[in-house]
Subunit: 332 residues, 2 copies
């Protein structure tokens, strides 16, 4: 069966992505063997980490190779199943990659409820939402009354972090770029305050004014100067959760370290990193809670859905140009 | 009663200490009132943090004022007691400051055993030893078989950290400056390896070779480039304990942040700061253990004892010029 596929064609190390980093080919869908499932891709999800995978930064996933089908998670429909766990027509999620059809072991697919929240399985209930949920709750350890500050607050992860922190009884301050995003954080998501870092010369002073007692939890999606300014406002026994930093992928190297890491001493603070994949065994409980919160209107989200497999590279680039507002997806 | 005192005469912010930062005056010892004790200073202990206190960096102790008697801990003998807790002749420790006599509330003094380990109450069993003990055990959380790396390893704190880590069943690598210190770490203190950072161009490669599986606990007394190189070798679920950094006091500002803080994400690591004063309620147990380990020969230490109150400023400066080898003290 014909199967259009995007291959990794080059490594974007230390530079922005280019069209020639990818190559569209007419491949073949392999028929499923015993225990395998053939899936037709419906939606692909996009994440800055994908550029890191192409560069083999990180080492927490298997190295990528030039010529392999570009990695990416997606939602699909089962076309043919050689596993008792799935039947034709089932909706599933998994590492479908950038292609029209994927043949995968049943164990690598999750069965999804086929309802109005189907695409949310790539965002609020997918890795993005899980990153927010486990990063905040396991590593930020918020208590009711705590002040939480989130950078990249209008992003797919950041917007979940702030809303979960509100559910946890916290005061939430978001840092985002631009009036529209800041207004959305306050008016739609219920953040207590939002700082537009593009129009704020004194981020530190502004944050200090909004959190005079300091911030108990810093959830950083950005790194660099913004992390440093947030660190200067750490409250006693504050927790700093570090979760990537899109700037890193563009720089192609680590951003400058935050000189205010030293404040961890004075404030008896902790800074913790994590990889959300470590929490996969706990996903079902977290997903069920997210689903309920979404149904109750306590968690809201935006999706930015582009169209057509041929636009996959351009869709990934949107993330790095800040063009998306909401979880970036592509519909095939 | 005549009481020579060194006053804080200037703030050494952003520059090395100078003689004129201090002023020697002929003061007066105040007679003790009810609940107070008059103590004659026998020994003073020195620590890099004292420069930070003069600059009012940190904020975890009360601000200093120009004209106040220079702060410093010491060991003394009770001359006159208006408290039932002490009697003349008792040996005590406390914040005696740089003066011949101190009049203090009994509650601010600790009674010491008057034995051959008297001066160790300023070092191995004092704040220095407590910093090593609680920083390593509470924040480094070493397990038998872990690899621990310590910077400033031959310093008063660092040398205790490595020895306690050995008692805890760990492999210990020390980073120190110079052959003599490195030889001492291995031959006398039982470190498994020592790296002379002054004669090692590839600190990262050397550390990686000594700890191919990575380091489970980083105990940093230095900051800057050395911390950054250690972070690059963090093992999965590694713990980073940050404990000052003498470079900071010389710079007068925060050192550059460690860009490899990002490794905390990939390695699911934690970086924690602490202030040892928070553990004061737990000092008695820790002191008793340190005393036992010293008696058993499992903890060794060096003391660098200068003489004469008039040499107090010069003695503090020795720390910043790397002249001391062992806990820096002054005998009056």
């Amino acid at each position: 069966m014909e199967n259009r596929q995007w291959l990794i064609n080059d490594r974007p190390t230390g530079r922005p992505l280019k069209d020639t980093d990818f190559k569209l080919v007419d491949g073949e869908a392999r028929a499923p063997e015993a225990g395998e499932v053939l899936v037709r891709t419906l939606y692909l999800g996009f994440d800055p980490a994908q550029k890191g995978w192409m560069e083999n930064i990180g080492g927490y996933v298997a190295p990528t190779e030039i010529g392999e089908v570009m990695r990416g998670s997606g939602i699909g429909e089962v076309v043919e199943s050689k596993s008792s766990a799935f039947k034709a027509g089932d909706k599933v999620s998994g590492m479908l990659r950038w292609q029209e059809y994927a043949t995968l072991p049943a164990a690598e697919l999750q069965k999804l409820e086929d309802d109005e929240l189907l695409t949310a399985n790539l965002g609020a209930m997918g890795t993005t939402g899980m990153t927010a949920y486990f990063g905040l709750l396991k590593h930020g350890r918020p208590k009711p009354g705590d002040t939480v500050v989130v950078s990249g607050a209008a992003g797919a992860t950041g917007s979940m972090v702030g809303q979960i922190a509100k559910i946890a009884g916290c005061k939430v301050i978001g840092i985002a770029g631009g009036d529209a995003k800041c207004a959305w954080l306050i008016d739609e998501l219920g953040y207590d305050a939002a700082i537009d870092y593009k129009n704020e010369n004194d981020l530190r002073g502004k944050l200090r004014a909004l959190a005079p007692r300091g911030v108990d939890v810093i959830y950083d999606n950005v790194g660099g100067r913004i992390l440093n300014d947030m660190l200067s406002c750490l409250a006693m026994h504050g927790r700093v959760v570090i979760c990537g930093g899109i700037s890193r992928y563009e720089l192609g190297k680590m951003p400058a370290g935050p000189e205010n890491y030293f404040n961890l001493i004075f404030m008896r603070g902790t800074m913790e990193g994590f990889i959300v994949l470590d929490y996969i065994p706990e996903y079902p409980v977290a997903r069920a809670r997210m689903r309920q919160w979404i149904r109750e209107g306590r968690i809201k989200f935006k999706e930015d859905i582009q169209n057509g497999l041929e636009n996959a590279p351009r869709t990934l680039m949107r993330l790095f140009q800040g063009e998306n507002f909401g979880k970036q997806m592509l519909k095939l």
